[in-house]
């Protein structure tokens, strides 16, 4: 079957799920899983070399003829939508069940399918107007998913911030598509590299899609939205919805001509996002916020790759651009997989312990071994360590950038700082994840609720296992996934079309597999030894004290203190404390919180200023007819005077 019928069947099945979903959870789950499986089939067919799919119809939708298109780039993103969409749908069944949330769970099921359909629509539509329709629908469905638990004030605030930020981005996209249509004379989208006059539009696209992707200064909505949404929603937001911003940039930097400076700007923004995103991440105490900032970092990594590839194109199609782009696109998959896994794991912890504050958790490993193991696996992947998938894509980007530096071209000047940023971000990510993993899972439980925590059920475990399997598969056998990524790169820049995989990839695969086997063997041996010998059991963090308490353990702030201290200039932590005084000190405390600096120090003051001006202006609208007539007369007289002055000379 060609992708066309598959996609229409998938769409119909998902819409059917949307309709029946609120009332019948089981049927909804089956329909949604079928829908994403069929959609995935279509995408895999395109990625495995079945040829692009394009469909035009005379049927007008909103006054424009339908034009759908599935090529390598969109198929790659569609695979991600389907994977996380399916996983989240299974996970949500137990995590956000009708039993616990009788009011919002049915609503959530309908919006979930609406989100999946609109994401698919955005990826498929090759018409500016339809793209915008899908984009808006996607934004709104994501808003309703974020605010599922809308009784809580924080959730409503986060949803509101998300909606406002998204629409700021959408305004730019409206301008982008409208100007594009005005200059080309049609809303139809497609490769238009020849028309040099369109290049300045790229900045609008970068702004609009950058907000959605969460690039550093535009990421303000991201931490609160991802932290306050239900965890399966956070997973799809972080794993997939952010990637729509990436998709927009990749799509339109491939189809449209770009300004000469764009590659430099994109790689620069990527480096800043990677570095500052992870700096904020390390300093967080809320583990879902920590994961959200880590997404800013990963989007930065992807943009480093994309920017590198754009530089390579503008400097005469240098072959290293292909590596950078392949790394970026593979990282889209990888981040989608491991970040969804991490958010699902975080949801499992939240479900069991009821708090997102790391400093109130601890000691969950023996209580939740599956969640702990899978969370650590995701952390290893996110830190870019072997033998998992995070390393593969980052390594491809590294290879591309190293080649750029070795080429001694002008692009090397951008690549070298990007390498440094990438390496620093990787090291900081490791710090962040060691801190998160250690505080949540190791040590002793810090509260009674945590001590009573239970492992999640299979309904939540299976999707996490599936995502972990994806991480392992890409990590251990990257060569298998190369053709798909390579087709996507070809669709981005057809001039680079080649089938051969870079030689080092096979070596990397072999190395990863060997290391994986070694680690697995060592782990099995250790486990066997511990099992057979028994060993002595003692409370964690005993340290020789007679009566240790859980409060003697490291807190989140103390663990990350040194690292976060390097970034105090941007983190601006708020510190309130009282030193212990005297021989028998009482009432000492220390509170430290890290604000969202860009939001609270830049955007909020500006918004407050705008609000003050509007309030002042609003006084003019007081409801007194007499004064309104006075405004009118004054305006008329003013106009009359103007006309007289114009006519006088």
């Amino acid at each position: 079957m060609t992708p066309g019928p598959l996609l229409s069947v998938a769409g119909v099945v998902l819409l059917l799920g949307l309709v029946v979903g609120p009332g019948r959870p089981q049927l909804w789950r089956i329909l949604t899983l079928c829908g994403v499986a069929i959609g995935m089939g279509a995408a895999v067919r395109v990625l495995s070399g079945g040829g692009d799919w394009e469909w035009r119809s005379g049927f007008p939708l909103g006054g424009e003829a339908m034009h759908l298109r599935l090529d390598g780039v969109s198929a790659l993103f569609l695979v991600l939508v389907c994977t996380v969409g399916g996983g989240g749908c299974v996970y949500g069944g137990e995590y956000w069940s009708d039993h616990h949330y009788p009011a919002s769970a049915p609503r959530g099921r309908a919006w979930w399918n609406a989100l999946l359909v609109s994401l698919g629509w955005v990826l498929l539509s090759a018409n500016g107007l339809h793209f915008l329709l899908g984009w808006e629908l996607f934004t709104v469905s994501a808003y309703f998913l974020i605010t599922l638990d809308r009784q809580r004030l924080q959730v409503r605030a986060a949803g509101w911030l998300y909606l406002v930020a998204s629409h700021t981005g959408t305004v730019c996209l409206f301008a982008f598509f409208a100007l594009l249509a005005a200059r080309t004379g049609s809303w139809d989208l497609g490769p238009l590299r020849g028309q040099a006059g369109l290049s300045s539009l790229f900045w609008l696209a970068l702004l609009g899609f950058g907000v959605k992707a969460g690039l550093f200064p535009l990421h303000v909505w991201l931490p609160s939205a991802h932290a306050n949404a239900p965890s399966h929603v956070s997973a799809i937001l972080s794993g997939v919805a952010l990637k729509m911003g990436v998709y927009g940039i990749v799509r339109f930097s491939g189809w449209l001509p770009v300004p000469a400076a764009s590659g430099w700007v994109v790689i620069g923004l990527g480096s800043v996002s990677a570095l500052l995103g992870i700096a904020f991440s390390v300093a967080q105490n809320d583990f879902k916020r920590m994961l959200a900032y880590c997404s800013v970092e990963n989007v930065g990594i992807i943009f480093i790759g994309v920017g590198g590839a754009m530089l390579a194109v503008s400097h005469g199609d240098a072959p290293w651009g292909r590596l950078a782009m392949a790394g970026a696109l593979l990282h889209v998959w990888n981040h989608g997989a491991f970040k969804s896994l991490l958010f699902l794991g975080a949801g499992s912890v939240l479900h069991a312990a009821g708090t997102r504050e790391m400093s109130r958790l601890g000691g969950l490993w023996p209580r939740m071994p599956w969640t702990a193991g899978l969370f650590v696996l995701g952390s290893v992947a996110a830190s870019g360590l072997p033998p998992l998938n995070g390393l593969v894509s980052e390594w491809l980007i590294y290879l591309g950038l190293f080649d750029a530096v070795a080429g001694r071209g002008p692009a090397g000047w951008a690549a070298l700082p990007a390498i440094l940023a990438l390496a620093t971000a990787g090291a900081l990510a490791l710090v962040g994840f060691v801190k998160t993993g250690a505080l949540i899972f190791l040590g002793a439980p810090r509260t009674r609720a945590v001590a009573r925590a239970d492992e999640c059920g299979w309904g939540m475990r299976v999707p996490m296992l599936a995502l972990a399997a994806v991480c392992l598969a890409i990590g251990l056998a990257p060569v298998l996934f190369w053709p798909a990524v390579s087709r996507a790169v070809d669709a981005w820049h057809p001039a680079w079309a080649t089938r051969e995989s870079p030689a080092p990839l096979a070596t990397l695969g072999l190395f990863q597999a060997t290391l994986g086997i070694l680690v697995a063997t060592a782990a099995a041996a250790l486990w066997y030894r511990a099992k057979s010998r028994g060993g002595r059991r003692a409370p964690t963090w005993d340290c020789g004290f007679r009566a240790p308490t859980a409060r003697m353990q490291y807190t989140a702030a103390s663990f990350a203190g040194i690292t976060a201290g390097w970034f105090d200039w941007i983190l601006q932590p708020m510190l309130r404390w009282r030193r212990p005084r005297g021989l028998f000190p009482t009432g000492a405390f220390r509170r430290e919180s890290v604000p969202e600096t860009v939001l609270e120090r830049v955007i909020s003051p500006v918004a407050a200023g705008v609000l003050r001006v509007s309030t002042a202006v609003r006084r003019l609208q007081h409801g007194r007819l007499q004064s309104y007539i006075l405004y009118l007369v004054t305006g008329l007289l003013g106009l009359g005077v103007l006309v007289l002055l114009e006519g006088a000379p």
Binding site: Q621, H622, G623, R624, L625, Q626, S627, I629, L630, V633, L644
Partner: protein
Amino acid sequence: MNASLNLLIGLAMGLNLLALGSSRLPSLIRAMSLQGVVLGVMPLLLEQGADWRVGLVALATVVGKGVVIPSLLRRAMRAAHIDREMEPFIGFVPSLLLGAAGTIAAVALARALPLLPEHQGLLLVPGSIASVLTGFILLIGRAKAISQVCGYLILENGIYLFGLLLIHSTPLLVESGILLDLTVGVFVIGIIVDRIQRAFDSLDTRKLTVLRE
């Protein structure tokens, strides 16, 4: 002919000032209705061979502005039990001064305007501008709804005066349409006045501000 027309317009301008200076509502209504009658007679003087159409316009204006509308207003006034403008936004003496200044400015402005030769010697344009200004001053400066209606009517009289310049080219239908609008407008305002009175126990339009969101 021009002389008598100018005399009438001068009379209308004088009535403007009277309207501005009167604090009692009956005298304000009287000034307004008298102005309406004066204006109604003007088409007959402007036109040599009195056409039946022009006669009809004149008759309708005199009856509408001189009898129907004032009686509606008087009835509203009685229903609301008020006959005085108590707290104007712009006092009576300042309103008079403003009105006088506006009249002088209107005469000065009319000299600067490019008019047709047959309208050069007439006071039509300054009279019209002065009436419009007077209407605006009443609308801006008075708090009671009935005074504002009077202001609105005087404003309309100014527009009507300007319309006399075009009496040959304005169809009868437009003329009668304007008059009908005006009557309906006054009618509606009469009802609203009644409602304001019942809702707020006063006709002070300042109290309407509590209705905003």
